[in-house]
């Protein structure tokens, strides 16, 4: 088997099964990552504010949650989500199994992302110079106005780039969801290999697709970052 034959096989496989890769694989991958990042950011923000609140018990619970999510493998968390979510919501068992798996995986990924995002947001807020808060408070502004008008707008500049990286991480992480055949890009690899029996070439095809997705994303992020710095 030569490099040339792998390349021609890759092209052939892509042309024949592009709908499985693109329409199904990439679409589900992006959908899963987008759900995880969007919902994860909302939950992560709540966790971050909870962690900075003055309620000790709440703080302790959130710290424990974040440490557990960061200290266990994502695949394990997906498995837990896969079995735990249908147990908590029994109605889900009436759904088509692929949809159910997709929701379970999305929930698990969301909470995984939320843990990481909460740390990103917390460190982004804490990185804002304390003097900014002190100056605002010394003028008689209350805590929440200070947060909303002074601290958060500056924290966003620290947070957004790291959040973009989290999106890239999530796109790669969705490949773990293929364990449950939810239809994302890695699942389409399994589907196509089942027909062609050509593992290496198919792997290279989806590898290239993952790479292109993340390349576009990271370039876009860099551009956005530059724009933001220019306005600082």
């Amino acid at each position: 088997m030569t490099i040339g034959s792998i390349l021609t096989d890759m092209v052939k496989i892509f042309i024949k099964y592009w709908d499985v890769f693109v329409l199904q694989g990439i679409m589900y991958t992006l959908l899963l990552a987008a759900i995880a990042v969007l919902c994860g950011t909302v939950i992560g923000a709540l966790l971050a504010f909870g962690r900075m609140s003055r309620f000790k018990v709440l703080r302790a619970i959130i710290i424990a949650f974040v440490e557990v999510m960061r200290g266990t493998p994502a695949l394990l968390q997906l498995y837990v989500g896969y079995f735990l979510v249908p147990m908590l919501i029994p109605d889900m068992n009436t759904m088509p199994s692929q949809l159910m798996a997709f929701i379970c995986v999305a929930v698990a990924l969301t909470f995984n992302t939320a843990a990481y995002v909460s740390e990103i947001i917390r460190s982004g807020i804490e990185a804002v110079d304390k003097g900014q808060t002190e100056a605002a408070r010394s003028l008689g502004l209350n805590n929440s106005t200070t947060m909303v008008s002074i601290v958060l707008p500056q924290a966003v500049k620290n947070i957004l780039p790291a959040l973009g990286n989290e999106f890239i991480t999530d796109i790669k992480q969705t490949s773990l969801a293929s364990t449950f055949f939810v239809g994302e890009l890695m699942t389409s690899y399994k589907t196509v290999v089942g027909i062609t029996y050509n593992s290496l070439s198919t792997l290279f095809v989806i590898g290239v697709l993952y790479f292109i997705m993340n390349l576009i994303l990271s370039k876009g992020l860099k551009f956005a970052e530059k724009r933001m710095k220019a306005h600082a």
Binding site: G131, A135, L139, G140, L141, A232
Partner: protein, 335 residues
């Protein structure tokens, strides 16, 4: 106008302030000098509660800013269970109070000191305290590191506090009126509505007018739409002073306003502060600029080891210091 009573400040087990009391009169200019790490800045930050004193009280215009410190009120001490226990053991009134103060017997035993004690503490607090945010509006603060809001242009920096606070006041008044209207539905004798302050657009207009006037006063009108990152240190500090002035404060607190400046920019900032002093503003200035302190102050405090080691008029303190530490410090810096 600003009175601090027996301020102690601990950072963990490290004692920074060890019992400082002083009063700043209306229109007075007080300079605070002393070696680095002597607690000057901490003292200033305790005045507007950016640092909360561990013990002691801060009063402004007869209003209490800190929680009640039981040791400063004899009647509170006398109401405590610890006191009555000591008295029943045969101690005299003076001795018992002295012992309680010295050994910090009331600290963190709020609930164990009895109902009378708690009621008295609460009564003193309720009668005298004022919300710290309202008090801070009347206390301008200028920082060593300027601390201009990086995400706001110069004019927005100056307008921010008056606009936000003005709008908040307007909304609070509207809410109060709504409550009165609702309660009037069920009343025979209707309560009158309260007058509304400026509405948001008027607040903004006034704040902008005021901000432009302030910028003109400090000679930086052309920087109105620039961002702080494009300005020099001296310009930043002058704008920081204008920002504090925008709230029409009764007293200005300066925390080493020239220490982070390049030498050629110190003059412009000191000139501005001097202008303020001449206009009759009450000022507390923590500074290393001895010449300036001598020139503008009515009173100079020399802080050493967390206490006021010596205080007096600039002539007294600079020409004839009585405290040996003050003499040593001044001989070093006045060379």
């Amino acid at each position: 106008m600003l009175e601090i009573k027996n301020i102690y400040k601990y950072f963990g087990s490290h004692q920074v302030l060890k019992g400082i009391s002083t009063e700043i009169e209306h229109g007075q200019v007080v300079s605070v000098i002393g070696a680095s790490g002597s607690g000057k800045s901490t003292l200033l930050r305790c005045m507007n509660l950016l640092e909360h004193p561990t013990f002691g009280e801060v009063w402004m215009e007869g209003k209490l800013l800190t929680p009640v410190d039981p040791y400063l009120h004899f009647d509170v001490i006398r109401a405590s269970k610890t006191y009555s226990k000591l008295i029943s053991e045969g101690m005299s009134d003076d001795d018992a109070i002295a012992k309680i103060k010295k050994e910090d017997l009331l600290h963190e035993k709020y609930n164990a000191e009895g109902k009378k004690y708690r009621a008295l503490m609460k009564k003193i607090y309720d009668e005298n305290h004022i919300d710290i945010n309202i008090a801070r509006q009347k206390m301008g603060m200028v920082f060593q590191q300027f601390n201009l809001f990086n995400n706001k242009s110069v004019i927005e920096n100056i307008m921010l506090a008056p606009v936000k606070i003005g709008i908040a006041e307007y909304r609070a008044a509207v809410r109060r009126n709504n409550r009165i209207r609702l309660s009037n539905v069920f009343r025979k004798d209707k309560k009158p509505l309260i007058g509304l302050p400026d509405d948001p657009s008027a607040v903004k207009l006034k704040a902008e007018e005021n901000a432009r006037a302030l910028l003109k006063r400090i000679g930086l009108s052309d920087t109105a739409n620039q961002y702080p990152s494009t300005l020099s240190g001296g310009q930043k500090q002058r704008i920081a002073i204008a920002r504090a002035l925008a709230m029409n404060p009764d007293v200005m607190l300066f925390d080493e306003p020239t220490s982070a400046l390049d030498p050629e920019m110190v003059g412009e900032v000191l000139d501005l502060i001097n202008d303020l002093v001449k206009s009759g503003m009450t000022c507390v200035i923590v500074t290393h600029e001895m010449g300036f302190a001598r020139e503008v102050s009515d009173r100079v405090l020399f802080i050493d080891g967390g206490v006021i080691a010596e205080q007096g008029t600039p002539e007294q303190l600079f020409n004839n210091p009585q405290n040996p530490r003050a003499a040593e410090f001044l001989s070093k810096v006045l060379r």
